[in-house]
């Protein structure tokens, strides 16, 4: 086992990793930018090294500074947390060359799964379902029609060079295909300088359901059930839960088998997540794999009782996973709400000094945060300031616990999205488990209210 680990991150996840190390008897080194001098991860680590000015590229993303900090402190391994350098294959390689253990998967796996096209190709070869489509650029409107008839309507036409919704058209009715095809090409030409478009199946009200996997260097590969993360805004998750209200035992075991197949296709080692889109008919499709620990990992920890960070460290040290697939049992229901420093109505970031801070507690409540009264939320980094996780014997109990936890979560001095989370937790469809990735669209106007079911 390692004697000393450097944590190449900040905020709540840095603190979370420090706690895991402390329980394992491992010394910790915090690295920080000059904007984080008074952060709790600096305060609670055994050692700390200032690695640069506030801008991430000069500090938390500065490979040379992070490696040097490990060298001068004698750390043997680096935990990258999430974000920053966590899915940077180059960084994982440099660690290896410098004799440091990167706590995560092999660099070539990070690279392969980070390249979206390559990841999809790998999954098709492995027999994991992916979203059906044209497998490349459309040559004509006729070509588009052929593909759409084969995979089934509705379809989505997307700019090959695209992003951000431009050059994108949903086509429900075959009669509209010609117009949509031309419009998408024109928009793509205007926005990206090329008219190339491709086509894929358009999923109606899809849910985002992901599976946690763990692999070790002894050939063990396990899955730790699902997390439902459909409540998201512009691909930013806001609420995550486990189990998903959309899965029965049969669907769960089919999806779990696909997740293991996906991870097995790249001989995955350490903690990873297979993300699927699940449609209303129970068909599911691989979208991507995250080769790191995720923000929402506590949801899985609360229902399985497994400490994922400690497991990551043990795996990186060459130990086998400390339990078997049969040992993985879930108890009750867990929900996580991400608390961000942002305006609950406009979603604009709200950095600044926290004047007063009171954390919720009591039965079934866990809060992961690195904030405190008088702490400053710097404008340079992610706006998430806390994760509130509620566990209950049933989903209803977890919702009720979350509601009263949010009520007693007091943050003054900066704006937070606590009120928005309270609106979500009282939304009738949320309470009934009727959610999809479209769910957040309703929170532009004032929402409806209902009591817990």
């Amino acid at each position: 086992m390692f004697r000393k680990i450097l944590i190449a991150n900040r905020g709540e996840i840095a603190l979370r990793i420090i706690w895991a190390c402390r329980e394992l008897g491992i010394k910790t080194v915090a690295v920080y930018s000059t904007a984080d001098t008074h952060s709790l991860h600096v305060r609670f680590a055994d050692e700390d090294v200032c690695i640069g000015p506030p801008a991430s590229r000069d500090s938390y993303l500065n490979v040379s500074a992070v490696i040097s900090a490990a060298e001068i402190t004698g750390a043997e391994a680096i935990h990258p947390g999430y974000g920053f350098l966590s899915e940077n294959a180059h960084f994982a390689e440099v660690c290896r060359e410098c004799g440091l253990t990167f706590i995560g998967p092999q660099p070539d796996v990070i690279r392969r799964m980070g390249d979206k096209a390559e990841a999809i190709r790998t999954m098709i070869e492995a027999g994991v379902p992916t979203i059906p489509g044209s497998d490349g650029v459309l040559s004509s409107e006729e070509h588009a029609r052929e593909v759409a008839d084969r995979i089934g309507w509705p379809v989505l036409i997307k700019a090959a060079a695209g992003g951000g919704g431009r050059g994108m058209r949903v086509v429900h009715d075959p009669a509209d295909l010609g117009r949509a095809y031309d419009a998408a090409r024109a928009e793509s030409q205007a926005a990206f300088g090329t008219p190339e478009v491709y086509l894929e199946k358009y999923l109606l009200e899809p849910r985002h359901v992901e599976f946690q996997v763990l692999g070790d260097t002894h050939g063990n590969l396990l899955q730790l059930h699902e997390r439902e993360c459909s409540v998201q805004r512009r691909h930013q998750k806001l609420v995550e839960e486990s189990p998903s209200t959309a899965l029965d035992d049969r669907l769960r075991s089919r999806m779990a088998a696909a997740a293991l197949k996906a991870a097995g296709a790249v001989d995955y080692v350490n903690a990873g997540t297979i993300e699927f889109l699940l449609d209303s008919r129970g068909d599911f499709y691989f979208i991507e794999m995250n080769t790191r620990i995720q923000v929402e990992h506590p949801v899985t920890e609360m229902v399985t009782g497994i400490d994922l960070i400690k497991e990551q460290i043990r795996i990186a040290a060459g130990e086998p996973i400390s339990f078997t697939q049969d040992d993985v049992r879930t108890v009750g229901h867990a929900i996580e709400c991400r608390i961000n420093a942002e305006d609950p109505d406009t979603f604009a970031p709200s950095p600044g000094k926290i004047r007063s801070f009171h954390l919720p507690g009591g039965p079934g409540i866990r809060v992961d945060t690195a904030c405190y009264a008088e702490a400053t939320v710097p404008p340079y980094y992610d706006s998430m300031i806390a994760k509130v996780i509620a566990h209950g014997n049933t989903r209803g109990e977890a919702i009720l616990r979350m509601r009263r936890a949010l009520e007693s979560f007091v943050v003054e001095g900066i704006k937070t999205n606590v009120k928005l989370q309270q609106r979500i937790l009282t939304d009738e469809d949320f309470v009934r488990g009727r959610i999809s990735t479209k769910f957040m669209e309703r929170f532009q106007p004032a929402p409806r209210k209902v009591t817990a079911g």
Binding site: T34, T37, P53, I72
Partner: protein, 173 residues
Amino acid sequence: MDPKQLRELIEFVSSSNLATFELETDDVKLKLVKESAAAVAPAAPVYVVTPAPAPAPPVPAAAPPAAPADLVPAGPPVPAAGEAPPGPAETGFVDLRSPIVGTFYRSASPETPAFVEVGARVRKGQVLCIVEAMKLMNEIESEIDAEVVEIRVANGQPVEYGEVLFRLRPMSA
């Protein structure tokens, strides 16, 4: 040394924090002692006179010793050595800070002498030390013409970003 140079030197020393000043070249040996200082100060070596608010211990902390405001949360970020030409602080000293994380070396190799000693006069662009990061030897240069007043880190010690390496007294060119 002509009278004009001598006068300028006397003026410079008078307006400085120095108590005594010694200069030795091939043809000149000169010692200037300030009257007030001579009356009180012992004959000890001189360079640290009326120092900046206590020469803070060289612990690995990024807070600059001359800026108590940094003890307050959200203090201003430590400026990188190299950002904006360092102007003399109220005390007349300028701190040279490490621009990177690494290991501090006072000489190019264990066999060679140190780049500088306390009391040395250095030119702008002169190498004062090396900070090794990832097996790369990064030469750290003085930003100004100056005299080395204090060396704050011992040879072979790790340094972090923003840590003070040298305390310098600026000299007019």
